[in-house]
């Protein structure tokens, strides 16, 4: 056994060209697999983060009856508000929170109409919780107009031909279910990573909301809460739910299940791509080694002639490949880690399709990133693939007739 390992080791170094090809195949395979993963994963993560920052935040609290049936008069009661705010101010994981009034309504201009979710916010507080103020493309964030300003999304602006300073008629029902319609002046146009969010959500000031529904006190339907670590969102939301009455705190994964589903959807097509890459790689190694066996026919024949048995020849070829794969793995990992870290910092610019990416819910810069477990998975996958790849040519070598093989040129 020791001798075989020794021979295999020497063989690796004897024909540097051939070794180089197999070595590079493995390096390339590991890098390709990881980089493809990193790009997909990076795009998804970015999209998720964008959605959390711009609209969802980590946890939201709604009244239970509002969750069952979205209606204006299913708001938090005064005692609930008091209770929730006590709970939030004593919980040390909570970083900040904002309260919102929400109503379903319709926005109309001369160019058409659209169903809207009208969100009443207190600008100074909302600013700390979500990043809409950083995503204003045109106009400003509740600083310019005194009289009924509204922030609308880029999609809605396109659809209804709205610009900053123009007026949109927003209609919804007040607390007594009367129909109300009021003109709002567009103060700013925002662009979040989500097209559908930009199409159907508008922000107005809480005081305007309260006035319009003919109420004295604000109607609060939603608390949006940021905590210090998004991993703790389930734990914290459960804790909050247990401490308040007739209301439920939900983390982002419950509120927007499509965010976690999205991972799986793209995972499916990603799997197909990874399989194709691994297949291509395996095939490359098989091919190179087959060619190598062809080229080494005489050498292998000689070994068989001087008394090496077939099992040992087989083992030798497999060990050779294994050596190469094992040596290539750290290099491949290093290159992958280096390129992913590098591009993760400076990003890959897809500006030429940037607008398209935005519309699809991505930012135009892609920052590849990958979970550390992927390094292990891909490596194991590639090493197994290359081992399987070495068996096929090794078997071929067994079929040589020593007497003929020595004479081969």
């Amino acid at each position: 056994m020791k001798t075989i390992i020794k021979i295999a080791w020497r063989n690796v170094w004897r024909n540097k060209l051939r070794s180089g090809v197999v070595f590079t195949s493995v390096v390339l395979g590991i890098w390709a697999g990881l980089f493809v993963l990193a790009i997909s994963f990076g795009m998804l993560e970015q999209q998720k983060r964008g959605m959390l920052e711009s609209q969802l935040s980590h946890i939201q609290i709604h009244p239970n009856n509002y969750l069952e049936d979205v209606k204006l008069n299913h708001q938090f009661s005064d005692s609930q508000i008091k209770q929730i705010e006590t709970v939030l101010s004593t919980n040390k994981d909570v970083v900040n929170y904002s309260k919102r009034s929400i109503s379903e309504g319709t926005g109309t201009t001369a160019h058409g109409f659209s169903n809207l979710k009208i969100i009443g916010v207190t600008p100074e507080i909302e600013k700390q919780v979500t990043s809409i103020h950083n995503r204003i493309i045109k106009g400003s964030y509740f600083t310019k107009y005194k009289n009924r300003p509204v922030l609308i999304g880029r999609q809605l602006a396109d659809q209804l031909h709205l610009e900053v300073g123009k007026t949109i008629n927003i209609s919804f029902q007040d607390k007594d279910r009367n129909f109300i319609e009021a003109g709002f002046k567009v103060e700013g146009i925002f662009g979040t990573p989500s097209q559908s969010f930009d199409k159907s959500n508008v922000f107005i000031k809480t005081e305007d909301f309260t006035n319009l529904i003919a109420s004295q006190n604000p109607y609060i339907h939603e608390y949006a809460i940021n905590i210090n670590a998004s991993e703790k969102s389930t734990e914290v939301s459960n804790l909050i739910t247990s401490e308040i009455k007739d209301a439920t705190a939900q983390n982002w994964a419950v509120i927007a299940p499509e965010l976690s589903f999205m991972n799986e959807t793209s995972e499916a097509s990603l799997m197909v791509i990874l399989i194709i890459i691994v297949f291509a790689l395996t095939f490359g190694i098989v091919n190179t080694m087959l060619m190598a066996i062809l080229e080494r026919k005489r050498e292998l024949g000689m070994m068989l002639c001087v008394g090496m048995n077939k099992k040992k020849v087989f083992l030798m070829i497999v060990i050779e490949t294994l050596f190469l794969a094992l040596a290539a793995t750290p290099i491949g990992l290093l290159i992958s880690w280096g390129s992913i870290t590098y591009f993760g910092k400076i990003g890959i610019n897809l500006d030429s399709v940037g607008d398209a990416l935005y519309k699809a819910g991505y930012d135009s810069m892609v920052f590849p990133e990958v979970e550390s477990s992927a390094y292990i998975n891909i490596t194991v996958m590639i090493i197994i693939a290359s081992l399987i790849a070495s068996i096929i040519p090794a078997r071929k070598a067994l079929k040589y007739n020593p007497a003929e093989a020595v004479r081969a040129v």
Partner: protein, 404 residues
């Protein structure tokens, strides 16, 4: 001529070597075509879903309607050359359509909705009957509507309830009418489920006080790939008073979504091609090494370097072409199989795709251009790789090459 013959014989002399090289090229084509087929299949599916759901591949409206969707910008059916459009090549269905925004009310709940016409006799648009999850389609002559399930939910209305529709009719008249819900639709697209109502064309025309009025013609195609060609033909039929728009112009969003998915696809393809090129290079490299002795002998017995370079070149071209053809031939049935039996997704990911309005399947495209394009790319790569054996032959020393 002799070299050509020699090249041909060489190819068949060492069958195993030829086979290995051939298969490297064939598999390269196969992998590239598979990957691209899947990506394009997903894109085609996005178009199909969206186009079937609401748009049609091509629409005709009065000039200016698309920017200003007012009923006053509608068209009179009798003025339209519908039959001439139908007679055009590639056109399968011409559906006249009326749509407008209205408020619908049930009890104390009200909501804005898009009211669209539905052709009861021809059962068009087809997706309406396919998306019906409860109840039945409206009956001819009855004042019935079908609407998205989320809209009905919001209104707290169910089948058999009477809805009030209210809005502005043709030329400023007020339009008000009562309609009974006969069925519910589930488009699997939340936005459509929240906002869509269908009623028969005649009912809608009556409600709006606009007899004979439609807002658009929706045109379905036999071959979506000939989109622009057909649009040009339609343009010449309808004249300059009307605008002819393809789905790409109607929903730039969708076009962009597809571009975005292509952008990601290009990166993946680029990486795959890096591997493919390397695999092919490895094979060529080993094949060249193996033939050093043979080349040495040829040169020793007096063959000029240039001739043996030509020889290798010809051999490579023949093998490359055969490999590409083999790859295309092998890829076609596989792509065709997955076109007919798309990979089906299960569980949560399926749900996510439904949310995005796409069926939870990964179909493959059978666009022949994929095979042609990627076959050509692989051919070019393999021809570029011939440079390596040529360099080896150029620098070959016959004496040392013949030493084993």
């Amino acid at each position: 001529m002799m070299i050509l013959k020699l090249a041909w014989k060489n190819i068949w002399r060492n069958k195993r070597r030829t086979f290995i090289t051939l298969s490297a090229i064939a598999f390269a084509v196969l992998f590239a075509v598979m990957m691209r087929s899947m990506q394009e299949g997903l894109e085609e599916q996005m178009v199909k879903t969206s186009v079937e759901n609401s748009l049609g591949y091509i629409q005709v409206h009065t000039k200016g309607y698309w920017d200003d969707r007012l009923l006053e910008n509608g068209m009179t059916v009798s003025d339209l050359p519908i039959q001439s459009i139908k007679d055009l090549d590639n056109v399968t269905i011409v559906d006249s359509k009326l749509e407008t925004g209205m408020i619908t009310n049930f009890g104390t709940q009200s909501r804005g909705t898009y009211v669209l016409s539905y052709d009861i006799e021809k059962n068009l648009p087809k997706q309406v009957s396919k998306k019906l999850v409860d109840g039945k389609l409206p009956q001819n002559g009855k004042k019935e509507v079908i609407l998205g399930i989320d809209l009905a939910d919001y209104l707290d209305a169910k089948i058999g309830d009477t809805l009030v529709f209210l809005g502005s009719g043709y030329q400023g008249a007020t339009a008000v009418g009562l309609y009974v819900i006969s069925g519910l639709l589930d488009f699997h697209i939340p936005e459509l489920n929240r906002s869509t109502t269908y009623m028969s064309l005649s009912s809608l025309q009556e409600l709006l006080g606009a007899e004979d009025l439609v807002t658009s013609l929706m045109i379905e195609l036999e071959k979506p790939s000939k989109l622009n060609e057909t649009a040009t033909n339609i343009k010449s039929v309808v004249g300059s008073d009307y605008e002819v728009m393809t789905w790409e112009e109607l929903t730039p969003d969708l076009k962009q979504l597809i571009q975005a998915s292509s952008a990601k696809g290009y990166i993946m393809n680029f990486i795959l091609y890096m591997i493919i090129s390397f695999v092919m290079f490895g094979t060529v490299l080993m094949a060249t090494q193996e033939r050093k002795y043979e080349m040495g002998v040829l040169q020793a017995i007096g063959m000029k370097k240039r001739s043996s370079m030509l020889l290798v070149c010809i051999e490579n071209i023949i093998i490359s072409i055969m490999g590409v053809i083999l790859g295309v031939v092998a890829a076609s049935p596989i792509a065709y199989y997955f076109y007919n039996h798309p990979l089906e997704l299960q569980g949560d990911s399926a749900k996510a795709m439904l949310e995005m309005g796409v069926d939870p399947i990964i179909p493959f495209s059978i666009n022949p251009m994929i095979a042609v394009n990627h076959g050509l790319i692989v051919l070019v790569i393999s021809l570029v790789l011939v440079i390596y054996p040529l360099l080896v032959i150029k620098n070959l020393n016959p004496v040392s090459a013949m030493k084993l």
